[in-house]
């Protein structure tokens, strides 16, 4: 009933003449303002200021268009979406037009009254991020004092309101050893799901790659832990697991395929194929302030650039997996191979594959533990600062490729593939 090709086709909508169908889910970045400063934030390096954010009415108009276009789920995200005073109104409007509303929050600004109001407005699901199971780790990674107790309270209120709870655990070298405790916390909070999502290296995370990249040993232990926990917690806690793809053999099916079933709206109303797409510097993004959502979905240069398979060079073009992983991640190809149309270096068929594996091994062993925090002042200071290049990060010391992990690369990234 799920998982099968006919339902996949049904979800994409009838589109015989196109390589893509109708969008299923939207990541709505209501704001880039956030009290936390996580060094792997998925927001762009050039954060959008509050003065550029869309108004309540503009967001409601956007949601009307989403519902008409066939969008089924909206993820209210940020920054910290609770900063928006109109969050309840936006959730109520989503409910009114039939969108399934999900809130992705740090949890540090929530109150009990607000949670109940959001539930009354039709909110279905809350995802609370956890930076660490211990107060010290949580404070250090989030760059925010005493956040953990507030997060756990938000998790409790979510269940008290009768909503579904997911714990979002973003994992990296600095906190992977706390994963068993984080899973215990999720069970204690009666969460239905946990996303054990290793950091993906774009934007802020790429800046901090040396401090965040897990060791190969940590990754092996984590994978073994997750596999055992999935058996132990069947029917209690469902675990989504994403590995850092530098250690993978095949690329992730990024966003379920570029411009295929998902898009992202930035605080100012830019429509992006994914939250990291602005890192690809030659793309032109269209705004809801200038065009309808339907026009953008079908006609935007950024949406069409890497849609389907026609854009692919070799070895992707003749690869048997080209309609499974859609060539992996364009942002990663641009960041690591300086060509957004190149084979994702996470794929073992990429000429850069060995190089990124060695980079990961080396940086995880010898990298700094100092974090560059995500905030508006770092944005200003580092606006001209190029991301860490591969060659700069590589030493002449060659690392053996022995023991490359036999594990599947992530099939989804957060929010990317809502289908089962």
């Amino acid at each position: 009933m799920d998982d099968h090709a006919p339902s996949q086709r049904a979800l994409l909508g009838a589109a015989k003449d196109r390589s893509y169908g109708l969008p299923l889910a939207v990541l709505a970045e209501l704001t880039h303002r956030c009290p936390l400063q996580c060094p792997y934030c998925s927001n762009p390096i050039n954060l959008e200021r509050a003065s550029r954010e869309m108004t309540t009415q503009e967001w409601c108009n956007a949601m009307d268009q989403m519902a008409d276009l066939g969008v089924l789920q909206i993820h209210f995200s940020g920054g910290e979406p609770c900063i928006r005073k109109d969050l309840e109104d936006l959730v109520a409007h989503a409910t009114k037009v039939g969108l399934y509303a999900n809130l992705i929050t740090s949890g540090v600004m929530m109150t009990r009254d607000r949670m109940m109001a959001l539930a009354d407005a039709g909110l279905a699901h809350v995802q609370v991020s956890i930076q660490g199971a211990r107060a010290g780790t949580s404070d250090r990674i989030g760059g925010f004092k005493n956040g953990l107790p507030k997060k756990l309270e938000t998790a409790r209120w979510t269940k008290e309101a009768g909503l579904a709870l997911t714990i979002n655990a973003v994992m990296h070298r600095q906190n992977l050893d706390e994963l068993p405790e984080i899973v215990d916390l999720a069970v204690d909070m009666r969460a239905e799901r946990i996303e054990v999502a290793n950091v993906q290296y774009y934007g802020w995370a790429l800046k901090n790659r040396q401090a965040l990249m897990p060791t190969f040993e940590q990754l092996k232990q984590t994978t073994a832990f997750v596999e055992a926990a999935r058996v132990r917690l069947k029917g209690i806690l469902s675990i989504d697991y994403v590995i850092p793809d530098y250690y993978a053999k095949r690329p992730k099916q990024c966003m379920g395929g570029w411009g295929r079933q998902f898009f992202n709206i930035s605080p100012s109303g830019n429509v992006l194929p994914c939250h990291a797409a602005e890192t690809i510097t030659h793309l032109h993004f269209d705004s809801l302030k200038d065009h309808s959502l339907e026009w953008i979905w079908h006609n935007s240069q950024a949406m069409n650039c890497y849609r389907g398979t026609d854009w692919m060079p070799e070895p992707c073009k003749s690869c048997a997996f080209k309609e499974i992983d859609f060539g992996g991640c364009r942002c990663q190809a641009f960041a690591l191979a300086q060509d957004a149309a190149a084979t994702d270096p996470a794929c073992m068929k990429s000429a850069h594959h060995k190089e990124i594996f060695e980079t990961a091994m080396m940086e995880s062993a010898h990298g700094t533990d100092t974090l560059i925090y995500r905030n508006f002042s770092t944005t200003a200071r580092d606006a001209e600062h190029a991301p860490v290049g591969l060659s700069a990060a590589l030493s002449s010391q060659a690392l053996a490729r022995d023991g490359a992990p036999e594990m599947a690369s992530p099939q989804t990234v957060k929010g990317a593939d809502p289908t089962t």
Binding site: G13, V187, G235, G415
Partner: protein
């Protein structure tokens, strides 16, 4: 520590607040919307989920067996298999 629920015919099963049945007009399909999931439902699944009206599971199976004039054991297996799967995935509550 919460425990996995193994369904039996005395259970009263309901959709959780976070699992919502929705007919998708744009694609003309029945869906169950749940956290990070869009489940495409076939007609049988829709019928089973819509039958969750507060009766114990055994009574729902009785009604299906009568309606389709099919062996009760066969119906029971199909219904329980589907509902157990959806319970394990966190879409349903059973009391």
């Amino acid at each position: 520590m919460p425990e996995r629920i193994a369904l039996n015919e005395t259970h009263v099963i309901t959709l959780k607040r976070a699992a919502r049945l929705r007919f998708d007009k744009a694609r003309s399909i029945h869906t169950l919307l749940a956290p990070e999931r869009v489940v495409v439902l076939n007609e049988t699944s829709v019928m089973i989920l819509e039958a969750l009206d507060g009766r114990p599971l055994g009574q729902i199976i009785d009604a299906f067996a009568a309606k389709f004039a099919a062996p009760r054991a066969l119906i029971a297996t199909d219904v329980v298999t589907m509902l157990q799967d959806f319970t394990d995935k966190g879409y349903l509550e059973a009391k």
